[in-house]
Amino acid sequence: MMRLPILLVDDNPDACAMSAKLLWAWGYQADVAYNAATALQLAEQKPYALAIVDYRLPDMDGVELFRHMRELRSDLAGILLTGYSSSDVVDPAMQAGILRILTKPVDFKELMPIIQEFVGAPT
């Protein structure tokens, strides 16, 4: 069965590229967006299973972006990446339905079980 792809959103192109490579290396499909506008366009075109979103984006914060993406796809799962978790990030993120908030840099070995849970085993 074809797994639904993952959407990576981070304004650091290197961060996107490296994460995407890791996901590809482990057999997942991943698309990248460097800003919220592109992420929303992609989310409109493709059914993503999971969005991994950086909190600080040039045009919107990650939580707000996820809220908008949820309006497009109510079953979308979300992981928020942040450099600094404080209650003013965590509370709105939880309310928006984000499942995990991870502090950068993220160990992908830790991330894998979460991805498997929401996207399924890699193809």
């Binding site: 600080r56 045009d59 990446l81 950068k104």
Partner: protein
């Protein structure tokens, strides 16, 4: 009690006793034996009141004497017929002395009270607080000078309850309610409320009042003060703001420092999967290098701000050409400009403009400004850089068509840790110290920096003005560094400059041409090799960090040609990449230059060129 008061007392004693004597003699038929000495109590009291103890006792003795001589029989003698008259006279002396002592102390007490009252008024007028007194029912009846100065009101406009007109109408009902509650309970009152100043400004005051009670515990009056705490409130607020900015900055710092760690960490996790694939490994290494550089830049910025604010920075000043600085800065921000797909255009002054400055620091200034322009301009935007000379000043303008700066923030953007503070802008990255650094460094160079913006979405413009190094200074002015050799004195060589950043190559070529050299500029390694094989230049300046064929590879390939073994090869590397230097010599470079290059370094390089190049020979011929 002074002398004139004492004298008055004696006069009162004499006159009083005389008047009473005459009156008593006049009434002798009527009074007969009654009240022979009693009326003399009046002059004794009067004399003691006016003149104190001395004149009181004097009046007593005078009264007794006059009584004995004129009123008490036998007349015209100080002797008495009856024992009772003698006793009366003695009792009068005791009573007179007592009255005198009491009057004296009463008088002194009254003087002390007057003195205390005067001291109180002086004190009340000298303190910075507004002081007032109120009756037990809350009506105010006295105010100190400061009250009148502050409010500009008169006693009529302040007394009773009139002072309410000086209050904020919205606040007054609450203030009045709490004041009345304190009056009813007779307990000290404290409240914070605004009070109108004479210029109309409402300023916050801390108001305290205490009841003054008598021995029976009844409130006699209220004593109140108002302390202006507006400045303190504003100061506290500014501290809170600064604290919030610091917290925000720490959050940003944490984020910005962690941000480059993500790709580094991911690249390391990918490493085992791509081992053996050179291209993939190179890409991982490039990513890691780039992100490590970003981390270093962040930490350097942070340290620089700290160093500058403690005055611990030393500029390494030497004559530098403005275009070289701009080219260096453009090179530094090129990845960001390209990533955002901005169009960057440069309009440079035709004449080279020399500045006496620290090349690395000035490059940092312009790259910070350019970085800012790229950051706050939406993708596919435009950035214009222009340099020109206006009199003794070099003027550098960096303009963009980005988000602009709100007018109220224009004067604040050079403050440390200040980013345009909206939820959106926090996501723009950076520590918010780039412009602070730029300003501090420009000022250290004796220049100025200004920001202009028509407002949101109207773009912004940063104008840097730096003093131009005058021609006299370059040839040995008092303040100038070691006198520069005249460029014309250099033998003419054929030189090739290769840099993938065309502006950078062209700028360096221009500087070398201004030093009398024959220079060609190219922007890729492949065409450089072809050109070199065809033209055999005396020297080649090769940028190390070029895509496709990097400088090391070009050098290696050139050295494979036997006829190019002795050609002078110069490696160009970015600021601070010292490790590249060693590698450059290993692959066959003869010399190394750090970008942005300065005139001295170029002259030094030209001096190392083997003399007898083709052009020199042809020039001799």
């Amino acid at each position: 009690m002074n002398r004139s008061q004492r004298f008055t007392g004696y006069v009162v004693a004499v006159v009083g006793c005389a008047v009473v004597l005459l009156a008593r003699l006049g009434l002798n038929d009527l009074l007969a034996e009654q009240a022979r000495l009693l009326p003399f109590v009046l002059p004794v009291m009067a004399a003691a009141w006016w003149g104190g103890l001395g004149s009181g006792l004097f009046a007593t003795l005078l009264s007794v004497l006059l009584g004995l001589i004129f009123i008490i029989p036998p007349h015209h003698s100080i002797w008495v017929d009856a024992f009772s008259d003698g006793l009366n006279a003695a009792m009068f002396v005791v009573a007179g002395a007592t009255i005198s002592v009491l009057s004296e102390s009463l008088h002194a007490a009254r003087l002390r009270a007057t003195e205390t009252e005067k001291q109180f008024h002086t004190l009340a007028d000298s303190i910075p607080q507004l002081v007032w007194m109120a009756r037990p029912n809350g009506e105010r009846f006295w105010f100190n000078k400061r009250w009148y100065e502050y409010t500009g009101a008169t006693l009529e406009q302040s007394q009773g309850w009139s002072w309410q007109s000086l209050h904020d109408s919205a606040e007054f009902p609450r203030v009045s309610e709490s004041w009345k509650r304190a009056l009813a309970k007779g307990e000290p009152w404290e409240d914070i409320h605004p009070l109108r100043r004479s210029d109309g400004q409402m300023r916050w005051h801390l108001c305290r009042a205490v009841p003054v009670k008598n021995a029976r515990g009844e409130t006699v009056c209220w004593f109140g003060t108002n302390t202006d705490i507006q400045d303190r409130i504003e100061f506290e607020q500014s501290l809170k703001d600064a604290d919030a900015r610091k917290d925000q900055f720490l959050a940003t710092l944490a984020h910005e420092l962690r941000n480059p760690l993500s790709p580094i960490s991911n690249a390391l996790q990918l490493w085992p999967d791509v081992e053996g694939d050179k291209q993939e490994l190179d890409q991982l290494r490039t990513v890691m290098e780039r992100q490590v550089q970003q981390l270093i830049r962040l930490i350097d910025d942070l340290m620089d701000v700290s160093r500058i604010s403690r005055g611990k920075i030393t500029l390494r000043r030497q004559p530098v050409e403005l275009r070289a600085l701009i080219a260096g800065a453009i090179e530094a921000v090129r990845p960001m400009v390209d990533a955002c797909d901005h169009r960057l255009s440069v309009t440079a002054a035709e004449e080279p403009i020399m500045i006496h400055g620290d090349a690395a620091r000035l490059t940092q200034v312009f790259s910070n400004i350019l970085n800012n322009a790229a950051k706050y301009t939406s993708p596919h935007g435009a950035i214009w850089v222009s340099t020109e000379r206006e009199g003794d000043q070099a003027v550098i303008r960096v303009r963009d068509n980005g988000r602009g700066i709100p007018p109220e923030l224009l004067h604040e953007i050079f403050e440390a840790f200040r980013q345009v503070e909206t939820a959106l802008d926090r996501s723009h990255g950076g520590l918010g110290i780039g412009l602070t650094l730029a300003k501090q460094l420009v000022e250290l160079h004796g220049g100025t920096i200004e920001a202009h913006s028509e407002g949101p979405d109207k773009g912004s413009e940063f104008v840097v003005r730096l003093p131009v190094l005058r021609a006299a200074a370059t040839t040995g002015g008092a303040q100038s560094p070691p006198p520069a050799k005249s460029p014309r004195a250099m033998p003419r060589h054929r030189i090739l400059v290769v840099d993938d950043l065309r502006e950078s190559a062209e700028t360096l070529a221009m500087v070398l041409r201004s030093m009398g050299q024959d220079v060609t500029a190219l922007s890729d390694g492949e065409s450089a090799i072809h050109w070199i094989l065809a033209h055999h230049p005396d020297a080649v300046l090769l940028d190390i960090g070029m895509p496709k064929l990097d400088g090391y590879e070009v050098a290696r390939r050139l050295r494979q040609h036997p006829e190019l073994q002795s050609m002078f090869l110069v490696a160009l590397t970015g600021y601070g990449q010292q490790s590249d230097r060693k590698r450059a010599f290993e692959v066959g470079f003869n010399h190394h230059l750090t970008k942005p290059t300065n005139i001295d370094a170029l002259e030094d390089m030209l001096g190392r060129l083997p003399s007898g190049g083709q052009l020199t020979e042809s020039a001799v011929a």
